[in-house]
Each structure stands twice: as structure tokens, then as C-alpha cells.
Amino acid sequence: MAWRIEVSEKNGFYDAAGASVTRDIRDLGFGGRIKEVRTVQVYLLDGDLDEYGIRKICDNILADPVTQNYSYRGNVLEEKGRKVVEIAYNPGVMDPVEESAKKAIKDIGILGVRAVKTAKKYIIKGSLSYGEIRSIAEKILFNKVIQHAVKGRSAIPPEPPPYHFTLKHIDMINADDRKLARLSKDGQLFLSLDEMRAIKDYFKRTERNPTDCELETLAQTWSEHCKHKTFRGLIEYEGKTIKNLLKQTVMKVTDELRKPWCVSVFKDNSGVIRFDDKYNVCFKVETHNHPSALEPYGGAGTGIGGVIRDPLGTGLGAKPIINTDVFCFGPTDYPYNRLPKGALHPKRVMKGVVAGVRDYGNRMGIPTSNGAVLFDERFVGNPLVFAGNVGILPKNKCGKKSKPGDFIVVVGGRTGRDGIHGATFSSGELTHESESVSGSAVQIGNPIQEKKVADTIIQARDLGLYNAITDCGAGGLSSAVGEMGEETGAEVYLERVPIKYKGLSYTEIWISEAQERMVLAVDPKKIHRLKAVFDRENVEATVIGKFTNTKRLKLFYDGTLVADLGMKFLHDGVPPIKRKAVWQKQVFKEPRKNTGKDLTEDLLGLLSTPNIASKEWIIRQYDHEVQGGSILKPLQGPNQGPGDASVTRPVLGSKKALAIGCGINPDYGKIDPYWMAASAIDEALRQVISVGGNIETCAILDNFCWGNTNKPDRLGGLVRASYACYDIAKAYGVPFISGKDSLNNEYSAGNKTISIPPTLLISAICVMKNSEKAISMDLKKKGSALYMVGLTFDEMGGSQYYKMRGSLGNDVPRVDPVNGRKIMNSLAKAIERGLVLSCHDCSDGGMAVALAEMAFAGGLGVNVRLDPYAMPIGQELLLNDILLFSESNTRFIVEIADEKKFIAAMKGLPIWKLGNVRGDSYFNIYGPDGKLAVTTGTGRLKSAWQGTFKDM
């Protein structure tokens, strides 16, 4: 029998969830009209259950005996005179609580429960119409991609009907071009006509039509997401043909540098470098932009969940130890009436993304230690969500090879209809119809499932129970098995794959992107021992097939062959694409500089702009100290200023550490992707240097997010950015070890298309010998000297200062990596020798923002004079605002105890003395003319910086 149980806080106990919904509704502009919101948790239980059982379940599991009431006979709260909204999951969407609830009920000895579903009821008091409540609900209480507002009462949806097998063929060998194009579009295959023709030719040669499963397999494997066709194809650019842009630029740096500590690069699921005598570390950063645009919470959560599985699937499995996250959103105050059709409001996207990453990362027990958040109008509709993970693995567990005869074992979560077409969906553009067409591409993660998988895999790894491993990411089993069996061949019996519910077709099983699954290659002799490891911790491990020596991929369903493809065609059959790239430098107007006047308000304004203002509300929601290795945290000093790189000790009891930094600046990308990429590299390295790292043991990762690269101008920008990656990283001597690209980040509604600005995220990882030498950015001591390291130029294009004033500018900051390398190396040595008390890199907002952050973080003021004579030869006397707010690269502000030694250490390099640290809170900067350019106090600086997102 079915029971409905309602649980709510007792009167007199604070309903914290209800209170935050009330705040959110007020935030939407309903002000005092909303009096109170109460939340009710609804559980629907079905099974062989009597009243005694239900009471036992409620008393022991569902309701807190101290703070909560429950009712299994109607409403738990009075609803008279209030409006009620109940939100439930759509059929087929995983209910995250179901599995735990079933287990808990079994634990207390009640065995008859078949199904558990949950819903949430909001009881709203206030003078709002039902129409208004409906619109509020759509804006903040649910997302129709995964949930719905219940009409009447929630019920457990009936089980889907069982699947009746019929083998489907697609008529391709007789299709003309028009039909081929339509097949691709209607089937959401996102394959080009050339690719469809190649598939047609292949099947013509085999004298039969493909099955739907074969066509889907090819679409997944050949998707831009999996194959990086743009980067690896042919590009015509400035009269030359570039063959494989990635190899010619990013990968070439690593090839030429030949760093002995690079263990495995651009091969495995993440890049591997040496850490110490026992361990290597690996790092991967991915994006999950399109799913996060449609369902921010689920999209971002599965983004971090997915990237964690990359290190877990690297070598024979790495233990995940650090998360990073970088987000780009539309402005949070964007007017609702200007939102493109179908797009979610940026504020909602932001809150959902932050919560999604929080809930997944925290539950996995991985510290989130480094990140950035940026805002721009061009991210409305198409946010960027970068998620990264660092793993650690023993040196002798870095290789893998599946052998013919090995069992194919799928481990972890069950397969459902979630995430069908994720790989192909992410390779296309977003439109206002994406939500209805591609809704099933969005998934909700179950971090505890993944945690169980990670825990058990590491145990099985250490016992040597499998030969190879990879994650089920985009493309699901089709990609994982296809990849692992590329050299050998594989046979899979699809009916053996454990499924969440009935009704899945063989093709759905094969391409589902259900989360939290890994695939192992296991010697049959070890299968019992392997299964015992997983059984012990309630993780499913199922043999679904075996690796063969046929070099073919064969899939069966209930004994019928449903797919039979040559591995060579599957992996190498995609026709190389040839694209045109054009770059024409756009010239933007350079706004007039501010001269002579007091720039205090400008500095305070800059500190409170969304890009610069404190992200403490996000940082604190992420556990950045779990695992116990956090040495330098994201917020530093007694007043919590923004740190540069984070420093983490992955091995407890050892001083050796990892510094993790990042560089990103989409505003530069609007002007010139070359210098945007160059600046991103410089910034990531600066962060690492600032905390006591160095560039000699530093590696970087690239994540390109671009608009539609079918358009020659977009592709031209990509080529330029790639060239910069080669030029700058090579000159700095820093290898790339992994990377990923996400193209087609455009949002179309009607005839309007918004393309994101060309954006490259550079993530840096540096192995630090002794973390006790690390330094933070907060000013430490009255009287110590302040120096600027590096040169300042009149290059304000794309600066935050211009952005605040509503313009873009044209002269984007450049990078001089030859001198930059010298500066960074000498500064790193000075820090290692203990000559530097604090250091902060100059990035967004220039030196004035960096200095202000150092001052309020440490609670100490400064006396500083901008000295034009210390500027490089040939430069004219610069204006205050350039000196203060220019974002010239390779610059640091350092606090020095022993000036003599520091000057000697930096001999021959551009350093200039700024002034001294004060003992009080006065923050004074004098211009070259000796007049005060900025005068304020550290308290005001801090309030400006902390005020913007205070009420999030």
C-alpha cells in the first residue's frame, strides 16, 4: 500500500530552509508582501507496509524527534489561508534520496518497501496571487527540466513498461544528401554531411544498413566533444594549412621542453607529473557549460563529478585530492525583460552552479581550494563552468593495458535514461529549444555513489585486481569500452548492464551517460576477489563482456548481434574536417584617461565590481580543508583577503606540497585572443610564484571555451590563442600536460545569437619542495618596505577599470616571457630564501587593487608614492590612473624586510620601491606630482570589497 508522509519543523523551531526561500522571494521584488514560507518534506512510500511499520519508519528515520513533527494522514501543517506549491521530480529523473531511504528502512528491519520518492511542499503566507506564485516557483523553486509543480498530490509514478526488443536499422545506404542531413539533425547526432557520407560509404562496402546503435556509437565517438575535430583537423589560415593545431602548438611545447618529470601527457584521462619518490600527481580540468545552462545545479554537480572520475580513471586510478572551479556568468542584476527566450536568469544560474559544485565536491570529501568567478553580459544564456580535479597515485600504478580475454566490468551506479546524447549535445549550439529537445542530456549526480566507487577502486587497485580502467564520461559505455578496446576488440552483452528501471532499449543502455560508473578490464582469474572488494562496501560490479583480439566492436542484446563495427573505422574513420580561419584585428576606441584627480572613489568602486569583489560567500560553502592538507587557504590574513595560488600537502606528515593557480581573462579575449591567452598563462604562473612556487617544476593545462568555430573569424581567434600558447609557454619553459576544448558556446534565440568572448582558462600545478616556505598575501609588519616587481605600461584595454567605466579599450596587455621568466625565477628564489614577507600578483584592477587587498587583509595601511622615474626608458610620465589600474603582466607587489638583500637578489631586473607599510590603517598613495591620488582607510577598502555579495 502507498503511504504519504509529511515532515516539518515543530512550531517554535526555526525553519532555516523556509527562511532562505522567503529571502529569495523578497529578492525577486515581492518585498513585504511575502510574510512567511514554511517547508514540508514529503515522502511517498510504496510497499508491504502497515501502520506500525510506518510509525517505526517515521519515528526512527524520517522525522527528528526533537525538532520535527510528522503526519501520515494528511497535512502536517495548517494550510488554511495560505498558498501551497508542491515540487516533485519528473518521472525517470533519479531521486537522490531514494537509495539511502530504502537502505535506512531495511536497516531498522522493515523489508517490504518497494519504492521511495520525495517531494517538497512550500506553504506560503502573504498577499500573492496564484499567478505570482507560479512565476516565483518557476524562477526559484524548481526547474522544469527535472522537476514539476504537482497538480493535486504527488504520487509514485508507475513503473515504465518493459522493453520489447526489436532490432532497428536505419536506411542509409540508399539515402541522398538531404536525407542524410535530416537523419543527423532529427536523431540529434550532430554529424556533418561529410561524416554521414563516410558512414554511408562504410556500410555500402559491408552491404547492409547500420543499426541505430551503430550510428549512435559513431556519433558519440566522432563528436566534437570526444574527438576534438576542430583542433585536430585541417585549418586554412593566412595562406597556410595547419594540420592538427593542437599538435602544432600546445602539445609541441611539451614535446620540445622534454621535462623529465612529465610522466604521461595528453594520453590518459588526465596529465601525470612526478610528485616525490613514491607518488605522481595528475590534473584535469573540464567544462560542463551546456548542461549548467539548462539545469545549473545538476549540470554543475555532474561537471565536478565527471572531472573527478578523470583522475580516478588515470593510470590504474588516482585518489582525488583537490578540486578547482572557475565560473563565468552573466551579470547578476541583468534585467529579466532582456533575457533571451529560454535562458535562465544569471543569478539563478550562479546560485544553482555554486550549490551543485558545493554539494558534489563536499560530499566527495575533496577540498575545493582554488578558483575564480567572472561576469560579463556575453555569458547570459551560455555560462562557463570549469571544474578541475587533482589526483595522487603511486608511481608504479601509472600504466594500464587491457588484454584480450579480460572481462569488461562496469562498476558503480546503474544505467538509466539520464544523460542520453550528452556528448553530441555539448558539441552543438544552445538554442531556446535546447531545454525541451535536450532535457534528457541533463543529469543529477549522486556524489555518495561516486565516493563509494572511489573508495573501493583504490582498494582494488592496491590489490592489483585489474589491468585497465577508464571512466564512463561523455558517450557512456560506448566511449569507455570503445576506447579501452581500441587495440584489441570487445564484445558486450548489453542485457547484462544493470539498469535503474525497465524500458531501456539496447541503444539507450549503450550510450546513456548515467553518472558514477567506471569500466575495468579484469583478468577472469581475479574476478571473484575483485567483486568481493566492491560487495563489501555495497558497490555493484558487473561483468558485461570481454575484450577480444578481433579488432572489432560487437554488441549483443539477448543473443542478437546489434552492432558490429571495425575499431579502425570507429576511431580513425572520421573524415578530417577542413576549415577556414580568418583573423582581422578589430580596432576599438581607446577611452580618455582620467588625469590629476583623486582616484579614491575609483579604487573603492573597482574593489566592489563583481569581478573583483570578495567571493567569500562561495568559498566558505566549499570545504577547502577536508583531507587535512590545506596549507594556504583561499582567504588570507586576519581580514580574509584573496589569496593567489592555494598550497596543499597531499601526503600528511610530508612538507612537499602542490601549489594550484589559474589564469583567465575573457575581457582581453574580446580584443585579441593572442594576448588573452598569453595573459592567462602569465597570470596562472604569477599566482604560483606569489605563494612560493616556481616555474621550473610547474605544469599547465588549457581549457579553451569558444564560440562557433565553423565561423572563420571565431576560428581565427582560436588559432591565434593557440599560437600564443606555444610562444609564451615555450618561452617560460612550462609544459602543457592536459587540456580540453569546448566549442560552440553560443546562445541563439530567434535570429539573435550571443557568442561568448574567446576564453582560455590556464590552470597551473607546481610541485613545491617545502611548503613551510610558502607565503601569503596579507601585509605583515609595520615599517617594512613595499616594492613593485615588473614593468607598468599604458595598456588598459580590457581592464577592469575600463569595464567599470563601461568601455573596452584597445591596447590589451602584452607579455614579455623572456624577461618574465627571469623575473619569476629570481623572485621565486628570493621567496625561498625568506626575503619576502608577503607577495600578491597584480591582475584584475592592477597594482592599486593588489595593494589594497594586501593592506586590508593584513589590517595595515601603506604610504606609497608612484615614481615615474623608475619606469622603463622611453615611457613618458604616466598618468595616475594608468599607474594604478593598468593590468600589465608579470607584476608583483612584495613586502620586504631586508631591502639590501632583496635588491641584490633581483639585480638587473625591474623593481621599484613604492613605499612602506604603516602601523595604522591609513591607505595613502601619492601621484608622481607628490599629491595624494588615493587616500582612505583599510576598513573602507575592506567594506567595499566585501559588500557586493554580502547577502548572497
Binding site: S100, I108, G628, S776
Partner: protein
């Protein structure tokens, strides 16, 4: 005499197990990570240990309510073993999620003495948010063996979303106070009770940790295992010279020393 043996209980979603084991090892004990299923299936035996630790994490994803499902496993799957562990005078510590488990299993504060009556709870922070921040703590009660000799204000990080301590009623609160069971209160840097963010969750009377009447069962929301080395403190870069150990280690040493002496 051999080393004190600590069983660190883990299950799906436990995530502070390794650093908790490390902290006990630094305090001179030997620590085993044991899955709850191993205890339920009797492949591992609680009797072999002097100290049981339930570490932080998100067991079962905090689904339904934090700590609840593991609490029920302690009661319903290994209830007898847990009871005999406690009756034989051994020590238990629950940190963060582990504290939630002890409270929801009825093992803390256990004024009724029956190891099952639920007398208090830990619920959603007033902010409705998970938060990671450092707090100042003051020892108030004198009953707890784990907090002996902590006479100055100490600092530890908290990282939780459901840490608001609520006793069932005033009577329970009074008994907790009268018996000296409040091990730690959230305070400001001068040692005075203060509001958010000093008290990160809205706990009744700023209670951060409590023990039972024997003083041997102890639970707290802050994470002592995250402040063993001085370099884990957010302000270490401002200090110079030789730094003393992190404040958290004392708690582990107290437990291990007590067990070594009496168990």
C-alpha cells in the same frame, strides 16, 4: 604495553577518516579504518579496540537528516556490540558528522542512561548554508576526558551545514549544564559568547561539543584532526620562530593517554 588501538568507523560518504587516523597516530595510537559492514558481518570486532572514532563526512549524503542513517546502523545493526563497548568503559569520539551520529543514536548526552533516548539534535545552520570557517572554542564543563587541560581558548575549523545543537527541552539543557557535559562553546577571541560568525550555526547557548556523564563519550562539530600541525592554521604565515603543535592534537592525546592508562 602495546599501543592503544583505535577503530575508525567508515561507510558510504565518510570522508575525514584518513586525517583522523593520522591524528590518532600522531598522538601515539594505532588506527584501523573499518567499514560498518565489517562490524555488522563480524569480520572485525569492536572488542579489539579501546577507542571508537566516528569521523566527519557526509554519510549517506546527509539524506533525510545528517548522521541519521549511520546512527540507525549503530543502533540496529551493531547495537549490542556498541553497548558492550560503552559499558566496558571504553572511549568514543564523534567529530562533525560523527557527532551528529552519536546524538542521533541516543549515545549523547545519554542522560537517561539507556543509550537510546534521543535528548537533543543537530540541525540546519541558521544560515541554511554549509560553511567552512575557523572558530574560537572555550572549554566549559569539566567532565570530558578528551578536553582535559585545555585551559586557554583554542582554535579549530568547522565545516558543516547541520551543526545547530538543540536540546529537547530546558530540563535537558539544564542537566547537560549541571553535569558539566558542555565540552566546548563557541566564543569570540576574548572568550566571550558571541553571535554569528563566531557561533557559526546558531547553536543553543553556543554549544559546540558535549560529552556523556562518564566523560568518555565525546562529540563536537569542529574538526580537531584538521589542526594537528601548526601549518594547518590560516594565520601561520604571520608567525615566526618555532611554532607549537596545532590545538587539535591535545584532544587526541587526552583520549589516547586515558586509554593507555586505564583500558
Amino acid at each position: 604495553m602495546g599501543k592503544v588501538k583505535v577503530v575508525i568507523i567508515r561507510t558510504a560518504g565518510t570522508n575525514c577518516d584518513k586525517e583522523t587516523a593520522f591524528a590518532f597516530e600522531m598522538a601515539g595510537a594505532m588506527a584501523d579504518l573499518v567499514h560498518i559492514n565489517e562490524l555488522a558481518h563480524k569480520t572485525k570486532n569492536l572488542d579489539d579496540y579501546q577507542i571508537m572514532a566516528i569521523p566527519g563526512g557526509f554519510t549517506y549524503g546527509d539524506d533525510i537528516a545528517s548522521g541519521k542513517i549511520l546512527a540507525n546502523e549503530l543502533r540496529f545493526r551493531i547495537g549490542r556490540e556498541v553497548e558492550s563497548f560503552i559499558r566496558s568503559g571504553r572511549l568514543i569520539i564523534g567529530i562533525c558528522n560523527g557527532f551528529q551520529v552519536l546524538v542521533k543514536a541516543g549515545l549523547l548526552p545519554n542522560l537517561a542512561g539507556d543509550l537510546e533516548t534521543i535528548e537533543s539534535t543537530l540541525t540546519l545552520n541558521d544560515s541554511d548554508k554549509f560553511e567552512d570557517r575557523w572558530v574560537y572554542l572555550k572549554r566549559t564543563g569539566d567532565r570530558c576526558v578528551w578536553t582535559r587541560e585545555i585551559d586557554h581558548i583554542i582554535e579549530l575549523p568547522v565545516a558543516h551545514g547541520e551543526g545547530k545543537f538543540i536540546p529537547k527541552n530546558k530540563n535537558i539543557l539544564k542537566k547537560i549544564r549541571d553535569n558539566g557535559l558542555v565540552a566546548f562553546e563557541y566564543v569570540d577571541r576574548d572568550g566571550k559568547r558571541a553571535g554569528y560568525p563566531y557561533c557559526p550555526n546558531g547553536s543553543v547557548e553556543n554549544i559546540a561539543g558535549i560529552c556523556d556523564r562518564t566523560g568518555r563519550i565525546f562529540g563536537l562539530m569542529p574538526h580537531p584532526e584538521r589542526y594537528i600541525s601548526p601549518y594547518q592554521h590560516p594565520g601561520w604565515t604571520r608567525k615566526s620562530g618555532k611554532m607549537r603543535d596545532g590545538d587539535g592534537i591535545t584532544i587526541f592525546r587526552n583520549g589516547v593517554n586515558y586509554a593507555g592508562k586505564y583500558l
